[in-house]
């Protein structure tokens, strides 16, 4: 008999009445131990999809299952299998970090002794043991995020839904978080990771789906998706002043030019002399280059190629 997927979502549509935004006809499946990445710019529908999958929002149409539990008609069964890291975690500020985590562990049905054991290990893992008795309102943003991770994984969920989980974490905590995620995946937990941090997604995820304007525009392994940009290089030029960059598109070998803040991102063929031609084109347009990098493409470039839009247009 075939083992059911940890998560199976079919044709999920959920649109907000006011803005008309949301997700449309999204289907995805996540197997046991698989880490599935959701990548898309702000407003692409990642958080909405996670809200639906966490049972927080009822979809306009479509169905989903968490293990054997129907996510719409058997909410509480599905909720018991889920771990959640929401994009803006909040806690009871006047309770200690430990008390917050303990309350959630018990809400997920953990017995007291098991909860104490699991939480002690997790507070150590995320370097929060020293602060466990401090009130949650004294925690920094990063510490709050770590506490949210602890609350999400303590009960050993079958499926972990994470919305920008590493945002605000320091380097050491990111390592601890990635180690814990791999450990949970190794133990069989499926995961959905919504993030704009393409390095994190490439490092952690087995498969990735790109969301654009609420629809899945591509899905595959990070390696396959990046490999689909055969022979393409990515150049990023930081300019002291904005320039009219459209003439760059006429340089032989340049496929696409986009802006990311003060940076010009140029996707181009891998041919000798092209870098010099691009630099000449920028200088010719009056640009003053303060920094220039040329590197292999990543998931961000795949997204740009697919949609013609930057993944993080509001950054830099």
């Amino acid at each position: 008999m075939e083992t059911p997927a940890t998560l199976e979502a079919k044709n999920i549509t959920r649109l907000y009445k006011g803005s008309g935004r949301g997700v449309t006809d999204v289907s995805l499946a996540v197997g046991r131990g698989e880490i599935f990445g959701l990548v898309g710019p702000n407003g692409s529908g990642k958080s909405t999809l996670l809200r639906v999958l966490s049972t927080g929002l009822t979809p306009d149409s479509g169905t989903f299952r968490v293990g054997a539990a129907d996510g719409i008609n058997e909410k509480r069964k599905a909720q018991a299998k889920l771990g959640l890291v929401v994009d803006r975690p909040t806690h009871y500020g006047d309770l200690s970090g430990w008390a917050n985590a303990f309350l959630f562990a018990r809400a997920y049905g953990m017995e007291e002794e098991k909860a104490n054991g699991a939480l002690a290990e997790l507070f150590d893992c995320f370097d929060l043991a020293e602060y466990k008795d401090d009130k949650a309102k004294t925690y920094s943003y990063g510490m709050g995020k770590k506490l949210a991770l602890i609350e999400a994984v303590a009960h050993g969920p079958e499926l972990l839904l994470m919305d920008e989980p590493s945002l605000g974490l320091d380097y050491t905590s990111q390592l601890a978080y990635q180690r814990k995620v791999r450990e949970l995946a190794g133990a069989g937990a499926g995961m959905v990771l919504a993030s704009n941090q393409v390095d994190e997604v490439e490092a952690l995820c087995d498969r990735v789906a790109f969301l654009h304007k609420g629809r899945v525009v591509a899905e595959g392994t990070p390696g396959d998706l990046v490999a689909s940009l055969r022979g393409v290089k990515r150049m990023v030029a930081t300019l002291r002043n904005p320039v009219e960059y459209s003439p760059l598109g006429e340089v032989a070998g340049v496929e696409r030019v986009a802006t990311e803040g003060r940076n010009l991102v140029i996707h181009c063929e891998d041919r000798p002399g092209l870098v010099a031609d691009v630099v000449a084109g920028i200088v010719g347009a009056g640009g003053d280059i303060t920094d220039l990098s040329v590197r292999r493409p990543n998931l961000e470039d795949v997204f740009v190629k697919l949609t013609g839009e930057a993944l993080r247009p509001d950054e830099a």
Partner: protein
């Protein structure tokens, strides 16, 4: 029974109630500060009874309404609602623990009233129960209001709109001897029974019997609690 760290929602509320010492002192003192001078003074019994009723109504409605609205705005309640806990149970626990905590706040002031105005044990029990029922009804109103509010200011506005007619119908100030539809409506407002019981404590005769004070508010509050708990899925849903 250990309360901290809390392992249920109601224990969380009790832990938070006792964790803020300054707020706790204020909460315990303000009913005394309002009710005791009134009880010790010679003001007419109907106004003294009204003060006790108003304090109970305000404590119940605003306490539950504002703390719930604040937790809902924080998003913490929506997060709790995504755990396997039943939303009905969460709302019931919120309601029950708030009623009990509000009652604890009012109890010292009530005891002083009974010392200053001794009545039979039956009426002491009836009046105490009627105040408890008033708190239950007021908390139900507070929880109900939280379904529609997004700030403490909203709570104030909605509570005023709901409570003023109820206070009028209950006969705290006007409508002391209602007839017709007003009399019928009065029978369905739990505040009216607390008002009658407290009037008796302060020395006025009332047509309401202690048995009625025990039975009718119980039935009405049970219905109110049931109805308010039915709003749980909507109340705890994510606010977008």
């Amino acid at each position: 029974m250990r309360l901290n760290p809390p392992d249920t929602y109601w224990k969380k509320d009790v832990t938070l109630f006792f964790s803020k010492r300054f707020a706790l002192i204020i909460k315990m003192l303000y009913p005394l500060a309002i009710i005791v001078p009134v009880a010790a003074s010679g003001i007419p019994a109907r106004y003294a009874a009204a003060v006790v009723g108003i304090v109970a109504i305000m404590a119940g409605t605003f306490g539950a309404g504002e703390s719930l609205t604040s937790d809902l705005n924080d998003g913490i309640l929506a997060r709790v609602a995504l755990t396997p806990l039943s939303p009905y149970r969460i709302v019931f626990e919120i309601l029950a623990v708030n009623v009990v905590l509000d009652f604890l706040q009012l109890l010292p002031a009530l005891l002083v009233v009974y010392i200053l105005h001794p009545v039979s044990l039956l009426w002491v029990c009836a009046a105490t129960f009627a105040v408890f029922a008033t708190l239950a009804a007021a908390n139900c109103i507070g929880v109900f209001i939280a379904n529609f509010t997004s700030s403490p200011a909203d709570v104030l506005l909605y509570a005023t709109a709901i409570l003023f007619p109820l206070i009028y119908v209950s006969g705290f100030f006007r409508n002391q001897h209602p007839t017709g539809i007003l009399a019928t409506l009065r029978d369905f407002v739990p505040f009216a029974y607390a008002n009658d019981a407290m009037k008796y404590v302060f020395g006025l005769q009332t047509r309401t019997t202690p048995l009625e004070v025990f039975v009718y508010p119980t039935v009405i509050c049970a219905a109110l609690i049931f109805i308010v708990c039915l709003t749980a899925p909507r109340l705890l849903s994510q606010r977008l």
